[in-house]
């Protein structure tokens, strides 16, 4: 009798613990999104990824649709190759969409925002996003700000921003 | 003389540098009650543990029923141990099991008998010690004497050949002491057991023992039947058997003379 009671309590204990584990899986780490219907992988190259990290979110209109899985440097072009996986639910993203690295708040971490394009073809597994804009580096911004405040000659300001312009033209091919 | 069941040859045992036994020889005959007596601290309990192979001696051998018990493998040793029962000084009942389960424990461990037979066996053993009515109590609800009787029932649960009693009379009131003395004698005769009693209670032990070994200072200082030892005129034996306060075993712990300590 007492043994049965103890075994009953132990059973409850184990069940409660696994409910907690399930809670952590779905509510705390949002496992449902990732395991929902699988992913497809998309690549994008950036001139500068800033402080983007693996597992950073990929979002569209502020909604999370995937995450960064891999960041590497292309040894020929010296550009950062970012691989991300996007949930299969969102499989109708136009091919000419652009990928931008933004920052959450002023000092927050980086994430990738996808801005939809107008193409009829959609991104699929292995697609490459050509339309990218790099992370804003705070030092560059401040540099530009100082030059414009100084009211320096057009020549100067154009050299200071030439880096950004150049990078934009490369990324747009 | 009946056959020998346990033979101890030149046993030497010690912790670190201290020697507890310095060459002991004993023969324990089958079917008799053998008492091992001696002052406190002579390692009588240690001797029992050596016989049961819970400890290993530095030198010498213990032959138990034809096996050199310290040379046996673990599995063999456990088979031999089924032939021994031991009653510990404290009783050593499992505090988380009831009296019934305590007595049933060795039966359930060693056999695959069904619950009915186990129940009957346990009740028989409890009946033998007169505590069948206490089967459902927990050990904490028993008095010291009752706990020791339950432990005795547990020790004889598997019908061992040899049963060893470690200080069975210590800390008992006269009534339970009398009950235990009678029980040990009855069990020994009724079941044909061999009993080894370790004790320093001279009158109780002497009343039932067939043979006594007297230990002191790591040696056997006297042996023989009760009457022989009582007549023995060796000072050490005499002091112990008659309970004299001073003698070869001194009253004072070794120290400087009193006068020297006070005047210094």
């Amino acid at each position: 009798m007492r043994q049965t009671f103890i075994e009953f309590i132990v059973g409850i204990f184990v069940i409660v613990a696994f409910i907690c584990l399930a809670f952590m899986a779905f509510k705390v780490s949002g496992l449902a999104l990732k395991s929902g219907s699988g992913f497809y992988k998309v690549e994008a190259s950036f001139t500068n990824v800033g402080s983007l990290k693996v597992r950073a979110p990929v979002s569209m209109s502020g909604v999370k649709i995937g995450s960064v899985t891999h960041i590497d440097l292309n040894p020929k072009t010296f550009q950062a190759m970012v691989t991300m996986e996007i949930d299969n639910k969102f499989n109708e993203i136009p091919q000419d969409s652009s990928a931008n690295i933004y920052t959450e708040g002023l000092l927050g971490s980086n994430y990738i925002a996808i801005l939809p394009g107008g193409s009829l073809k959609n991104l699929k597994n292995g697609s490459v996003i050509y339309n990218t804009s790099p992370a804003l580096v705070l030092e560059n911004l401040i540099g530009q700000l100082i030059f414009s405040l100084k009211g320096g000659s057009k020549n100067d300001s154009s050299t200071s921003t030439s880096q950004t312009n150049q990078s934009l033209s490369i990324s747009k091919h | 003389m009946s056959s020998t069941i346990i033979k101890i040859n030149n046993l030497v045992y010690g912790y670190g540098r201290r020697r507890i036994f310095d060459g002991i020889d004993m023969t324990i005959p089958q079917g008799k009650i053998t008492a091992i007596m001696g002052p406190s601290g002579t390692g009588k309990t240690t001797l029992l543990k050596l016989i049961a192979a819970q400890l290993t001696p530095q030198e010498g051998t213990v032959d138990f029923d034809g096996d050199n018990i310290h040379q046996l493998s673990r599995g063999k040793l456990y088979t031999v141990r089924k032939k021994m029962g031991m009653l510990f000084q404290s009783g050593a009942l499992f505090t988380d099991l009831s009296v019934f389960d305590n007595v049933a424990f060795p039966i359930r461990q060693q056999t695959k008998l069904n619950a009915r037979i186990v129940r009957n066996l346990v009740l028989m053993k409890l009946e033998a010690v007169g505590l069948r009515g206490a089967a459902d109590l927990m050990p904490s609800e028993l008095s010291g004497g009752m706990a020791r009787r339950v432990a005795l029932a547990r020790a004889i649960a598997l019908d061992p050949k040899v049963i060893m009693y470690d200080e069975p009379f210590t800390g008992q009131d006269p009534i339970s002491m009398g009950v235990l003395v009678k029980l040990i004698k009855t069990l020994n005769d009724a079941f044909g057991l061999t009993s080894i009693i370790v004790s320093h209670d001279v009158p109780e032990t002497a009343s039932i023992a067939d043979q006594i070994y007297l230990l002191a200072g790591g040696k056997v200082i006297g042996q023989g039947a009760v009457a022989e030892l009582e007549a023995d005129q060796t000072p050490q034996v005499k002091q112990f058997m008659q309970g004299l306060p001073d003698g070869p075993v001194p009253f004072h712990y070794p120290c400087k003379p009193m006068a020297q300590e006070i005047l210094s």
Partner: protein, 259 residues
Amino acid sequence: MNVVTSIGRWGINYCQGVGRSAWILSRSIFRRPRSLESFHLLCSQIYAEGWLSLVIIVVSALFIGMVVGLQGYNTLKDFGATQALGQLIALSVVRELGPVVSALLFAGRAGSALTAEIGLMKATEQLSSMEMMACDPLGRVVAPRFFAGLISLPLLTMIFNVVAIFGGYFVVVRWLGSDAGTFWSNMQAYVDFRVDVIGGIIKAIVFGFAVSWIAVYQGYNCVPTSEGIGKATTRTVVYSSLAILGLDFVLTTMMLGGW
């Protein structure tokens, strides 16, 4: 000269202790279980070690979650980054506080009781009498207690994590008025199930192994007197706590090092 000798002796004793404890552990683990009886014994021990530790675990978790929430809020609000609170609470609890604090509490609550219980069984000759009845006390007494600890601690950690996160939620969202949606979504964005949650539980399993091992060994090996049991119990708590914190460092290094 004397110092060197005593260091040497200490070293030898230490190695002997480690060897003996490993021997005891291996002899308790690698044995043929007597299925049903072992299961009953294991259940009783999980009840005693796990279920009876639940109250202290839940209460501590609640307070720790609330304190982390409160401290985090007061620090982050200066940077206008209170949206990161969910992430802060969840990550610190799931990765570190959950496993480590549960293990420390478990060592104090269940580990010390384990040592004292086994030590007292030794002092009252229950272990010897078991051996006399040809029943190995390592299988009957030590093994179920060890396995119960190994199973209980991860379960307690899972419960601790959830309660602590709720403690943080109550302070941050209900009391200080942060937005509930931000709290949960930020948490979900930054907590990874495999790396963080499972990583934390792996830590808990390792801690459970260490604490149970230390507790069982100290009990089985103690000097069977009241003083010896007292010392063994103290040693269990001290050694377990040190082992938990040291192992935590090692495991964290391994996990952050891209393991």
